[in-house]
């Protein structure tokens, strides 16, 4: 189904709940793909808006990741910094179909071409 617009990045089982894994894009920004404890998946640029910390390495709770460098809490759904902190990290549309993860190709590509 519309596989053409979506980049298959493999089965859901490769990311344990409560963790994230990374997807480097040659010539552009690395993407972090998150799996929450409640079973949802999100993809974001793997850079905290604060000091570019690798969000993929943070502790995931609810649908929030705590940046490993300075503990900024980032909403996985919106990419926005929560609490008193201000900033936003780009999100990449993601969907799950038949046990596989797909990223919106144009969101991945635009970033790569822009670089």
């Amino acid at each position: 189904m519309m596989i053409g617009n979506w980049l298959d990045i493999g089965p859901v089982t490769q990311i344990e709940p409560g963790t994230a894994r990374t997807l480097p894009v040659v010539g552009s920004d690395e993407i972090a793909v998150f799996h929450t404890m409640r079973g949802e998946f999100f993809a974001l640029r793997n850079q905290c808006p604060h000091k570019q910390g690798p969000l993929s390495q943070g502790i995931v709770h609810g649908e929030v990741v705590a940046c490993p460098l300075h503990n900024w809490n980032i909403s996985l759904r919106t990419g926005k910094a929560l609490g008193d902190d201000e900033g936003c990290v780009p999100t990449i549309p993601l969907r799950v179909d038949a046990g596989r993860l797909y990223l919106l190709r144009s969101a991945v590509v635009t970033r790569a071409e822009a670089a």
Partner: protein, 836 residues
């Protein structure tokens, strides 16, 4: 009961009625016919094709049949008499194999051709079979119809073991039935939480505990690799991790797929299901479809409730009074006797959503209501589902819950009591002899008198009359009583562990031991956590407290570890890591130095630095290279230096009596011994030790967590020093005569700190909080040093296992590897994927 049924009625040639042919004798097809007959009994000549050789029955009641709670006769919806009374032709056991839309007829397997004016497709769904080797073996069954139930029952009669693949609604009901029938049941579930589409982690944990208590084995996060057979029959299941589970029958219950093959071949619009409009009309106006085989406004339903609404809309339209179906909000109840579980709507939450959580450990209950824009959008209830239908009703109506928000979670009886919607008012309205604290039998009157006698905080109430001092489930009530009794003068109690709980660090540590709590979700349930899965403050703390309380038993939860402890290296500002191998007592040798030099060159490390703790720090290592770096360092005999952990860091030494003209004892040798004893131990915070060979104190032992200063007559032991943000010199603990005594006191002090300090509290603030005298008193108790030291050494048996060696050997490889790499070509816009 399985005899084929075939009721032919006399046809009424030229009756002038429209011919309605229904494919599917299941719940949807028959319900649709019933609805039509109720509106206009003479409109259609009805013919129903059923693939199963029997009358229509209530498929969702197959679970109780399997469990022996109902008989087949009890779940029949329409008897043979019904078909006869309504002049319906039932063609059972003869499957429709094609639809000829041009000729407006259907063709059955027997060759029978049945013309139609209106066709209704109600083919339902098919069980999804995971494509693993062995899926076609004799003894692999699905759970969809009565034949499947018969197969399971005959297997159960022979006894033995069953494996159920799929821990969703259907799989768990199958497992329950087989378990009741005396089989040894193992449930294999791919995801970490049972029924993850309906339940969150907390409710899934409660469900799992209950099923395990009933004797089922539940394996979550388990992927089936192969079904094993001998002579064409099932003998077991092998998982991805190599585990083999012997069994006599495998029930495949991983999900369902809309049965759309007939519709697709007939050229109707089909996506996941057969596309229908709000009147259940397909892309061909003469063809209707209803039930689990359809896709309506993008949704396919696998539950029974939407079916009734669909059939109503279908019948309204087919009899000329169209109303339309607008989709359904669904709820789920698990049909396993004795387990109350309810789930409805959206429980994933999301932006702007607020969770209201209530846990009642005493009753094993968990309630979570998800609210957005003052509307209930979802609910998960376990143990107490009495209010399920009320929440579901609020949700379907989209009712504004702001007036009853505070009391919403307590349920309908409480929330709809008008003035009682204010919890404080509700508590004020209770009579004096109502029991507030069930654990300690404290009545409202007693709590109020305690408060009036001067207990102005929760903690004061707890220590004075014991209300809410045990399980804590009445904390909210006690707080309300404080508010009601004192007005605005409630004093805030000691700081709680984090915003997810009303308990303090001390409470949590005490209750983990008292209540024998062994897992993070269990702690959260028993101690009434107000968030479903905690936060980045409480998860690492709980992980440490459990690790400390249950050495050798608790399995470390990697996802509750801060990055450095999860990666066993120190993250740097650019996202690379630094690596510090252990150098015992600050000693090294040519082999270690060569290995470090080789690593620096091989991985192009941009910097090497001598640390304050007398070792070498290699900078700029990428996470994917860490296991290889560690393998190289291991090969030279080096292990993790834990420079990244809330753990023993280093034991700093001076050269001591072996070389130094002032040295009084072998400080280097003692330092090495102490480091061998203490390395690898997880602590509330980082922990540094030093041993100086004389009072000149070259090893700076008086700003360490534990410092030894050697003197002619023995060893002076100092504790609670810190050279960080707030410099604090150590307090003198005691003086001992021998190395052995110094080692024992070091082990005992370390263990006391491990067992009693708050997570992320260094020894310096800990000692300032509890007082040096307290520490001295604890260690001066009869036999205390021996007991604490023994507990420390017992725990160390499980800790002194080099984490680097395990990672180098391939453990937790996912933490280091990328998922893949995207390589977009400048000329072609399509990105290529290269598997890592």
């Amino acid at each position: 009961m399985n005899a084929p049924v075939n009721f032919e009625r006399d046809s009424f040639p030229g009756s002038g009625r429209e011919r309605l042919v229904v494919i599917g004798n299941g719940m949807a097809g028959c319900r649709a016919v019933e609805e039509i007959l109720a509106r206009d009994p003479l409109r259609f000549d009805v013919t129903i094709f059923g693939a199963e050789p029997r009358v229509n029955y209530n498929r969702i009641m197959l679970s109780p049949v399997l469990a022996g709670e109902k008989t087949f006769e009890e779940i029949v919806i329409n008897t043979a008499q019904w078909y006869e009374d309504n002049a319906i032709t039932l063609v059972s056991g003869d499957k429709v194999v094609a639809i000829d839309r041009a000729a407006q007829s259907v063709i059955a397997a027997s060759g029978r051709v049945e013309p139609y004016d209106r066709l209704l497709i109600a083919t339902g769904s098919d069980p999804f079979i995971i494509p693993v080797p062995g899926k076609d073996l004799d003894g692999v069954v699905t759970f969809r119809d009565l034949d499947d139930v018969d197969r399971m029952l005959s297997a159960a009669d022979r006894g033995g073991a069953a494996v159920v693949i799929g821990g969703g609604l259907l799989g768990l009901e199958a497992a329950h039935g087989l378990n009741l029938r005396g089989m040894k049941v193992t449930v294999i579930h791919l995801m970490p939480t049972l029924m993850e589409r309906q339940l969150d982690e907390a409710a899934g944990y409660l469900l799992r505990s209950e099923l395990e208590r009933r004797g089922q084995t539940i394996l979550t996060g388990a992927n089936t690799r192969e079904i094993l057979g001998e002579g064409g029959k099932v003998v077991g299941v092998r998982l991805e991790d190599g585990t083999e589970i012997p069994c006599d029958i495998v029930i495949m219950a991983v999900g369902i797929r809309p049965a759309t093959a007939l519709a697709r071949e007939a050229g109707l619009d089909v996506e996941r299901g057969i596309m229908v409009d709000d009147h259940m009309v397909t892309s061909d106006p003469a063809v209707l479809a209803v039930g689990e085989c359809v896709q309506h406004r993008g949704t396919c339903y696998g539950l029974v409730a939407p079916l009734w609404d669909m059939c109503r809309a279908l019948a309204d339209h087919a009899t000329g009074a169209p109303t339309g179906y607008e989709g359904s909000v669904t709820s789920t109840k698990l049909k396993v006797s004795g387990i109350d579980l309810f789930s409805a709507g959206d429980f994933l939450g999301g932006e702007g959503c607020e969770d209201i959580v209530m846990r009642d450990a005493a009753r094993g209950a968990y309630k979570r209501v998800i609210v957005r824009d003052d509307r209930v959008i979802g609910a998960v209830l376990y143990g107490d589902t009495a209010d399920g239908s009320w929440y579901f009703d609020l949700m379907k109506k989209g009712a504004d819950i702001s007036p009853i928000r505070e009391a919403l979670i307590f349920g309908q009886a409480f929330a709809s009591g008008g003035a009682l919607a204010d919890p404080n008012a509700a508590v004020a309205a209770l009579s004096d002899d109502v029991e507030i604290c069930g654990c300690n039998g404290v009545s409202k009157g007693t709590v109020v008198r305690t408060i009036q006698a001067g207990a102005c905080s929760l903690d004061a109430v707890r220590s004075s009359c014991k209300a809410s001092a045990s399980c804590g489930s009445c904390t909210g009530l006690v707080e309300s009583l404080l508010a009601v009794t004192l007005g605005g003068e409630v004093q805030s109690g000691p700081r709680t562990l984090c915003k997810c709980t009303s308990f303090t660090h001390d409470d949590v540590r005490r209750l983990i031991v008292e209540k024998d709590l062994r897992l993070i979700p269990q702690v959260m349930q028993e101690l009434h956590w107000t968030t479903p899965d905690g936060c980045s403050s409480c998860r690492p703390a709980l992980n440490y407290y459990l690790l400390c309380a249950w050495p050798g038993e608790y399995v470390d939860d990697q996802k509750s570890r801060f990055v450095n402890e999860r990666m066993h290296a120190n993250i740097q500002k650019d996202g690379t890591y630094s690596v510090v191998p252990r150098m015992w007592g600050g000693l090294t040798n040519p082999r270690e130095l060569r290995a470090i030099a080789d690593v620096v060159e091989k991985y192009d490390a941009p910097m090497v630095k001598v640390t304050g703790g007398q070792r070498l720090d290699i900078f700029g290592i990428r996470k994917e290279d860490l296991p290889a770096v560690w393998a190289d360092l291991n090969a030279a005999g080096m292990v993790s230096g834990h420079a990244y952990g809330k753990s023993l860091r280093t034991v700093k030494t001076c050269v001591g009596s072996e070389w130094c003209r002032f040295g009084t004892q072998d400080s280097t040798g003692l330092g090495v011994k102490i480091e061998h004893m203490t390395w690898g131990s997880w602590m509330p915070h980082k922990f540094k030790i030093a041993v100086s060979g004389c009072p000149r104190n070259c090893a700076e032992a008086t700003i360490k967590d534990f410092g030894v200063i050697c003197v002619d007559s023995g060893y002076e032991l100092h504790v609670g020093g810190n050279g960080g943000i707030k410099v604090r010199a150590t307090d003198f603990l005691c003086k001992v005569a021998t190395e052995e005594e110094a080692m024992d006191m070091c082990a005992a002090f370390t263990q006391l700190y491990r067992e009693e300090a708050h997570y992320l509290e260094r020894t310096a603030p800990w000692i300032e909080r509890v007082g040096l005298q307290y520490v001295k008193n604890r260690l001066a108790e009869e036999g205390a040093v021996e007991r604490y030291a023994a507990r420390f050494r017992y725990s160390q048996q499980f800790m002194q296992d080099d984490p680097w060696a395990k990672r180098a050997a391939g453990e937790d490889a996912k933490l280091h590897q990328h998922l893949a790499e995207v390589r977009p070509f400048p000329t072609a816009p399509k990105p290529q994927l290269e598997n890592a």
